[in-house]
Amino acid sequence: MFKSSAEAERELQGAAVSHPALAEFGDKPADIEDTLLIRMYEEMWKLRLFDRRAVSLQRAGRIGTYPPLEGQEACQVGATLALRPQDFVVPTYRDYGAMILHGVPMENILLYWNGRAEGCVIPDGVNVFPIAVPIATQLPHAAGIAWAAKLRKLDQVALGFFGDGASSEGDFHEAMNFAGVFQLPVIYFCQNNQYAISVPFHRQTATATIAEKAAAYGVEGVRVNGWDAIQVYRAVHAAVEKAASGGGPTLIEALTYRYGPHTTSDDPTKYRPAEETDAWKARDPIATLGEQLRAWGIWNDALETELQERMQHMVSEAIGRMESAPPPNPEDMFLHIYAEPSPRLLRQREEFLASLGRPGGRQHE
């Protein structure tokens, strides 16, 4: 009935290192337009370049602690491109890739990781929820968003991202159960990168996969290769169609790997052998898709050069906007606590401004 951790580990490793989809190039997918295949590749590069630059910024002390996503681009790109603008992205701290693709400006992400309240702004009309820092707590939110859509008869689906570690939290369980009972138009998308900080997946659970947990909620569970954006896209696309047509929730597990540390404060050499990381990097999902595109005749060196330049430029511009943002306004901390600030808060704000030698201060909305 149950597998030992060692067995589970072997199975995961196996799936990881020799996934058939990566072993050979198949035919060009008939179900996906060339423009979309190219877009996947481009967006993956966008995220990777963004991510690398962000890590450099952190190393240079120009932003704060930052959780790199490198390695997980195929997951975030495949999943997010399968959504429609009206659908909701409900992210964790590592899903700023999905946030960017769904409409959040890059500079907001950088401002956020630079400890700036301005980075929390999600433009009106962009259906992205704030980053959830406490693990798994966003999953009931995604259920609630989807439930509201259902009650309001909106053609809208919510996609909640989570990690392998999050599957251990009670909130994962409660959210999945609500989704199953109320047949909500929600998709739970797990990026199983096989570690929760230092804790390997086989210490997180005694099951071999996350996907099989879906059955405990009467929910469909799907496992895909998170190294393959096309496979991820197809699974999420199908789940969106199902949810939007009243078919209920889906749990999708994408097996993936993070190349870098958990965050810039983390040292992965303490818990992961270098060979393991190298083996994953050796079959990089972006490089692989690039080779496929070339094999299918829709990509070439010139396009590649243009892409790299365009994306570097885009990221540089965003960094420029982040760095040229006006200095933080200290009284911002008193904003948005309540619709109307309480007299007590107003008094504290006055005292605060006085202590800064700045009486008055801008209008409180």
């Binding site: 707590t137 009931p140 939110h141 995604a142 309001r152 909130d171 409660e174 619709a339």
Partner: protein, 326 residues
């Protein structure tokens, strides 16, 4: 107008809110078919249907967490937590999300949700059914904490809470759910949040209380006024956070004495904050240090001793006498 208990007034308030705004929905354990374990939601499933009065699985974090998503995406959910002692499994959602979502999204996502929670002791309930832990919520910036002490206020405060764009923890004192009736208008009305009310004017001492304790304190006061010839001003705080400092300070500046009475334990009960604030603002007007009458600093005992854990008439009376004897 009709004569209603607190339960009936809240039920009526829920009905008014739902009739007025289709975005208002109820969810929680046993709120539907059963009409709530205290019958607060009775008849609402029949009137508004299964999509708006929803029996959920037994999961407080799920109830509060999905309410966050519901509220952020256009609904106005009123989740019920069956007893205050069972809100703790959902505490994370309240503290990290409900209280902070407005701030965390810089105003993009707001949470017009009212978390209804029966609370307090002295109804001979089983263990862990008698907590008065409003401090946990009042200490959490971003939450509004409301407690009615009578049927009229209950309906009006509830409707004001439902109108609020901020999340409200609406605490319902179980002990007075059916303890007395009062005339309650049948139509829609609100009682403002963040406003205390002077239940009874007086000149010699200000007594501040809320919920169940208001009426019990009032009884003690009546006797004291007769027996001792003192004049007591009684304030019902109604909103515990952010609370109405103005009304309290104005009264204490007038009377020169203050006593806080509450059912929460003394240590870091809201009385501590009120006492600290009064001393900060009014010390020169005070004839005596502010007195606190509260439950002892132990968890609520099983019910045979619970009446002695909470402030008794005798202890309330002693607390008031103390500020005269100083």
């Amino acid at each position: 107008m009709s004569s209603k208990t607190l339960v009936q007034a809240i039920n009526d308030g829920l009905r008014c809110a739902m009739a007025r705004d289709p975005r208002v929905i109820l969810l929680g354990e046993d709120v539907g078919v059963n009409g709530g374990v205290f019958r607060v939601t009775e008849g609402l499933l029949e009137q508004f249907g299964e999509e708006r009065v929803i029996d959920t699985p037994l999961a407080e974090s799920g109830i509060l967490g999905t309410s966050v998503g519901l509220a952020a995406n256009g609904m106005r959910p009123i989740p019920e937590i069956q007893f205050m002692g069972f809100i703790y499994p959902g505490f994370e959602q309240l503290v990290s999300h409900v209280a902070r979502l407005r701030m965390r999204s810089r105003g993009r996502f707001t949470l017009p949700m009212v978390v209804r929670v029966p609370f307090g002791g002295r109804i001979r309930a089983p263990e862990i059914h008698s907590d008065s832990t409003e401090t946990y919520f009042a200490h959490t910036p971003g939450l509004t904490v409301v407690v009615p002490s009578n049927p009229y206020d209950a309906k009006g405060l509830l409707l004001a809470s439902v109108e609020s764009e901020d999340p409200v923890i609406f605490l319902e004192p179980m002990r007075i759910y059916r303890a007395f009736r009062e005339e309650v208008p049948d139509e829609y009305y609100t009682v403002p949040l963040r406003k205390a009310t002077v239940v009874k004017e007086g000149t010699d001492v200000t007594v501040i209380s809320w919920g169940t304790m208001v009426r019990e304190t009032w009884t003690v006061i009546q006797r004291l006024e007769q027996e001792r010839g003192v004049s007591v001003e009684l304030i019902d705080l109604r909103t515990l956070s952010p609370w109405d400092e103005d009304t309290v300070m104005t009264s204490v500046n007038k009377t020169g004495r203050a006593v806080v009475v509450h059912e929460a334990v003394a240590h870091l009960g809201l009385g501590a904050e009120i006492s600290a604030r009064i001393h900060e603002e009014c010390i020169l007007q005070l004839e005596a240090p502010v007195a606190r009458v509260a439950s002892f600093d132990v968890p609520p005992p099983l019910f045979q001793l619970e009446d002695l854990h909470a402030p008794t008439p005798q202890r309330i009376s002693a607390g008031i006498e103390k500020v005269f004897a100083f």
